[in-house]
Amino acid sequence: MQKEIVTKEYVEKLAGQGAGTIILKKGSIITPLAYDYIEENNLKLEFAKDGETVSVQKDEEDFGKENSDLEKLSYSDFKELPYNIVLQFYYLMIKIRFFEEFAKAYKEKDIIKGDFVHVYLGEEAIAAGVCTALKREDFITSTHRGHGHMIAKGADISKMFAELLGKADGYSKGKGGSMHIADIELGILGANGIVGAGLPIACGSALASKLNRDDSVTVAFFGDGASNQGTFGESLNFARIFSLPIIFLCENNGYAISTTSDYGCSTPNIYKRGLGYDIPSQLINGDDVFEVYSACKKAVEEIRKNSHPVLIEAVTHRREGHWIGDPQNYRSAEDLNDLPKYDPIKIFFEKIKARSDFNVSDLEKITSEVSEEMKQAVAFAENSPYLPAQESVKDYLKE
């Protein structure tokens, strides 16, 4: 089931219209600030369920109060962000969108081989928001759905597309493919084919930052599915006891392959698991790049000053199946029909329109530049040769 994000703004709006009881769609996720607002104003909260209404108690009574750090991680007003940062959001999101549309099309035409191309369509705001808040010297670990993270951290889309085609000029000479792209120089410690495996690796990078006494931050991207792996619990505990400079960035798209997080997770809110490890944890709307950036920027600044882990749960929507070719029989028509509503680029447009300095031609210029860059990347990849087959027994050990 798709998650509705209920923000403080939304609750305020309803209260302003005279509503004493806030009735929400089943499966809605309420942000901590919205909870606080509801409590402070003595509003009643109900969830609609199959025609009947059920009252829901806030089960983390002290959430947001015990964790004073959370207060510092509140959202900033997108209107105050420098315009060049706003344009950077768009540049990264549209670049990811173009790349993934090409990846999808080439997979559907069977030009990209193999069963596993996991595209990031619909989730672009998270990679764009997070990586804009990072410096080049910062590090990320990624997932099986990693193209967006790579692009946002600065990876070369020509070498990426060549890798998807299994060509010699790809990031890994074609030996890695879609799920195995790394570029240490850019701080990309690797995508990963194993769910949850990047979290310990990210802890090691954060440990390296501590041993080096540098102020770099590591972001471990993972999904709602990975939060059910043992590595998740181990890594949160490890990061907490050593006060590691790390952000656990959960991309909750509601599906672990085809299994819904409603079914597979003991709590609909992964951030609550972070609280259990005594880690400042926060829920945000992952479809809103401004919100992602603000939350991440604040967390990064906080961590650079005072090393500690943070967990951010960014709720988002997976536009496609788990992999290209997934028939998605498990998704309801409502779920699929609602998707355009959550499109991060559309949400971005709605917000940017409110800025006085907004000029649509800036976005048009970026779009055409990225389009050209993408065409060149695809041509580069197509023209690249395959590695001579006998080279496939090399590169597993350094001579």
């Binding site: 890695g176 790394a182 990078s205 505990n237």
Partner: protein
């Protein structure tokens, strides 16, 4: 020359390498509290400073994966497992992450990690603390596997493992921790790969590693009438095939002795190597553990694991028929 235990040899290797290279650090359970099974790091925090002796929670997947993360950032982590059998808890991080990191990047990254695994039986520690775990790693491209037979090779191999730019699984036969051997004060390393011929002979080649080298030595000593060449394999992956083949070309007979099970093992590989490279007529025998989980009870464990008399009997059988 001074004699030190295998345990002391490991301690010295770690300490020397940490003092030599500030990028080396060690992680593992109970290593800074004095509670670790191997006990090799007991005095390390005082000697190299506490920062690089990281006492971890019991989270094998996490600290093994963390070793990779730190290695990608230029460090040379040593990971100590309390008992080798626990590798299985972190198998994904070793086999899917660490071993494949270089290959999946097309050879652009290195993962210089030393994974220390206290290995094997003869100590009545039952099925989850007595296994010989080498085969899975030998079967995994991207990771080197070495095994010492005592303090001398223990120190030299560990120093080489720490300096190696690749991941190395360093197997520590637990039964040898208290065994003493002559070890020079001066610095030395042992190349990986590389085996060592411990005794020259003309009639039979014995290839062994770890504790079995010690058992084979005893068996050979008890049978002075035979001319046996003993090779300590030292490096199981990559394997020094050349030394084995040269020796067997000369002796015409090969006995491989290992504590691991025979099926899908290095011993079976060596047997195949000899048959396919030399001649199918060469007489080859394997002594290994019998195929069952390692039992607790002393007489039962003794039955499962190779004994000196098994080796002696095989030598007699192989040479007595001439």
């Amino acid at each position: 020359m001074r004699k030190i235990t295998f345990r002391q040899a490991i301690s010295e290797a770690i300490e020397e390498e940490m003092l030599r290279d500030p990028k080396v650090f060690i992680m593992g359970e109970d290593i800074a509290t004095g509670g670790a099974y191997s006990g090799v790091t007991k005095d390390l925090p005082q000697k190299v400073g506490p920062e690089r002796v990281i006492n971890t929670p019991i989270s094998e997947s996490c600290f093994t994966g963390a070793a990779l993360g730190a290695a990608l950032r230029g460090f040379r982590p040593i990971v100590e497992f309390m008992i080798g059998d626990f590798y299985a808890v972190a198998a994904d991080q070793i086999i899917n992450q660490i071993a494949k990191a270089r290959y999946m990047s097309g050879g652009r990254v290195t993962a210089p990690i030393t994974i220390r695994l206290p290995n094997g039986g003869y100590l009545n520690q039952a099925s989850q603390h007595s296994q010989s775990v080498e085969s899975i790693f030998i079967h995994t491209p991207g990771i080197k596997v070495v095994c010492a037979s005592g303090a001398y090779s223990g120190k030299g191999l560990l120093k080489s493992a720490i300096r190696d730019d690749n991941p190395v699984v360093y197997l520590e036969p637990k039964i040898l921790y208290t065994a003493e051997e002559e070890v020079p004060e001066e610095e030395y390393t042992i190349p990986i790969p590389g085996s060592k011929i411990l005794s020259k002979g003309s009639d039979l080649t014995i290839a062994a590693y770890g504790y079995q080298v010690n058992q084979a030595k005893e068996a050979i000593r008890s049978l002075p009438q035979y001319s046996v060449e003993l090779i300590d394999l030292q490096s199981l992956s990559p394997l020094d095939s050349e030394t084995i083949l040269q020796s067997v070309s000369k002796t015409g007979r090969l006995l491989v002795v290992q504590e691991d099970y025979a099926i899908c093992s290095i011993a079976e590989h060596i047997a195949f190597l000899v048959y396919s490279s030399l001649s199918a007529k060469i007489k080859v025998r394997i002594i290994s553990a019998k195929y069952a989980p390692i039992p607790f009870s002393p007489p039962l464990e003794k039955y499962i694991l190779p004994q000196i008399e098994d080796i002696s009997a095989a030598i007699k059988e192989m040479l007595g028929q001439e």
